[in-house]
């Protein structure tokens, strides 16, 4: 790898031991993937604050104790539970203490305790074309695709090394030639009532992930009016069924004004014409419940947006969640403050919906050893709640989830592809 003089000094320890370690790691990774040089990073979204075990914790504490400091704005991905309310819902003291240590190490290094998997909803929007190092699969897909800042799938713990050095090996999606789509998903034949249905987008993303794997994918036939939430859900799902880090929506996302702009090689292009049957098939893959029994309705994977809160509150106001069902929402601290100020939180509390910050729907402590059924509006959550947490999953729109929570059993109104 060709390093600049500044980077060589970092590697030689001139900027301290934490910088030396971080730069050594990044240089070795650059050599492994045959990157020619480093690129300068202007923002990091780190998942190093996620507590998986003591090794990761000891690594970040080591960097913090060596006086490591982030040199670019560094936001933190969600942790496993709500740091204010987690103890009240059964998080162990031991885990709580470990996560506080992780948080302290990051704060000492200057990271921002955003604790959200959807930093783009908190106003964290890097400039178009800028190079960033983001972790968290849905956030990676969003920042590359919808914002047009550039990141690879940055690994946990590598992200904090990037934050300390402001560098990342220049390869993959930082380079123009790797940002063109090799897979084209065509939605032009789908009926309007499918395209207009919010619960179509997670399924479209799920399909795109299956088709594209880790390739860049372009999607055609989506109107300009598509919402940010639709795009968020699409990307989160595509990054869970596949490893999609960049999707173009032709005529919508910033690197895809036209087909020509975003497609790689016309001859080698893999094109898929989406049918209603294919969307139904994706929904069927997500359903792992055997009957209509319901234990839990889960929202906020990725973290719930302000507009999703408004929709939820409008649907549930004046109703009560069935006593047999737990209804939970995960969101960021900022959005939590906004919905509290606007009285939305009170509406949800009165209806029996619990709203949590910082944490993750998929890592709710009561998941462990449970065999219940969860309904969600998130394809990503329906996928992982089964494969990682072992709960059975049902999928539907926010309205389906609300109707089910009130009725105490799973209700799925027919979207057009189900009829």
């Amino acid at each position: 790898m060709q390093l600049t003089d500044t980077e060589k000094e970092m590697l030689d320890g001139k900027d301290g031991e934490a910088v030396r370690i971080a730069m050594s790691i990044l240089t070795d990774i650059g050599d492994a993937v045959e990157a020619e040089e480093m690129t300068e990073i202007v923002h990091v979204h780190t998942d190093s604050g996620f507590y998986l075990g003591d090794a990761g914790l000891e690594f970040v504490e080591h960097l913090a104790n060596l006086a490591g400091k982030v040199c670019v704005p560094t936001t933190m991905n969600n942790t496993s539970f709500d740091l204010e309310r987690g103890l009240s819902y059964g998080v162990s003291q031991d885990l709580f203490a470990k996560i506080k240590r992780t948080e302290n190490a990051h704060l000492k290094m200057g990271a921002i305790p955003t604790w959200t998997c959807a930093p783009y909803q908190d106003g964290i929007v890097p400039r178009f074309g800028s190079h960033v190092a983001w972790s968290e699969s849905n956030a990676i897909a969003f920042v590359n695709s919808v914002i047009g800042a550039r990141t690879n799938r940055t690994g946990d713990l590598i992200d904090i090394c990037s934050a300390i050095t402001g560098r990342y090996p220049k390869f993959g999606l930082y380079l123009d030639e790797n940002r063109k789509a090799e897979v084209l998903i065509q939605c032009g034949n789908l009926a309007e009532n499918i395209i207009a249905d919010a619960s179509f987008y997670p399924l479209l993303g799920y399909l795109a992930g299956y088709q594209a794997g880790n390739k860049v994918v372009a999607i055609e036939g989506i109107p300009k009016t598509v919402s940010v939430d639709n795009l968020k859900d699409l990307g989160a799902a595509a990054a869970s069924s596949g490893s999609v880090a960049l999707f173009h929506v032709i005529g919508v996302t910033p690197e895809a004004h036209t087909r020509e702009m975003c497609l790689k090689d016309k001859d080698a292009l893999q094109a898929i014409v989406v049918t209603a049957d294919m969307i139904r098939n994706m929904e069927e893959k997500l359903w792992t419940v055997a009957d209509d029994r319901l234990d839990w309705v889960g929202f906020g994977c990725p973290h719930f947006s302000f507009s999703e809160f408004r929709e939820l509150a409008g649907l549930i106001q004046g109703h009560k969640v069935s006593k047999d069902v737990r209804a939970t929402v995960f969101t960021s601290r900022n959005i939590h403050a906004w919905v509290r100020q606007l009285g939305i939180l009170e509406i949800l509390n009165n209806a029996g919906v619990k709203v949590y910050t910082d944490g993750c729907l998929l890592l709710f402590p009561q998941n462990k050893g449970k065999t219940g059924a969860m309904m969600t509006n998130s394809a990503k959550a329906a996928n992982y709640i089964y494969s990682q947490a072992g709960l059975k999953a049902a999928y539907g729109s926010i309205k389906d989830c609300v109707d089910s929570a009130i009725a105490g059993k799973i209700i799925r109104r027919g979207s057009a592809w189900l009829r």
């Binding site: 070795d28 090794a55 690994g155």
Partner: protein, 143 residues
């Protein structure tokens, strides 16, 4: 009898162990227990197998960007593979071994092979993976 295969070094170091190989991609996050080193994905053909101390050979990685963290935990728990042999290099898969090198001083060489040479690796054979020399020396009853 031994057979020498040339490979491309991604992370240097020389380690040896019995081979555990699969044609299926491996997801460390959610796919390998970080404390026990057991493959826990019920859909994987190596479900239930231990990666600890093995030369783990698989074509490419998949899944979450938390792979480096899982590998670091495996090293701390002394349940990590001794080497990774891949077809496609992946920055997430090399990251774990690279951090281990600089944090624990522990070497897990990572090398890549082409598809044909990858097929020479068989579960149960013994392999010395020498990333620095760019070669794998296979030995065992099959030779």
């Amino acid at each position: 009898m031994a057979k020498v295969i040339k490979c491309k070094c991604r992370v240097s170091g020389r380690r040896e162990g019995d081979i555990l190989t699969t044609d299926q991609p491996v997801s460390f996050w959610g796919g390998v227990d970080p404390e026990q080193g057991i493959i826990i994905d019920p859909r994987h053909e190596l479900f239930g197998a231990s990666v600890a101390g093995k030369v783990l050979a698989f074509p490419y990685g998949k899944g979450s960007a938390a792979a480096p963290m899982v590998i670091l935990e495996l090293v701390r728990a002394k349940k990590a593979p001794t080497a990774l042999v891949l077809i496609e290099v992946d920055s997430l898969l090399v990251s774990g071994p690279v951090i281990c090198k600089h944090f624990y001083g522990e070497t897990i060489p990572v090398v890549t092979l082409n598809h044909e040479e990858f097929q020479l690796l068989k579960t149960g054979l013994h392999a010395v993976v020498d990333g620095s020399k760019g070669e794998i020396v296979l030995s065992g009853s099959a030779f």
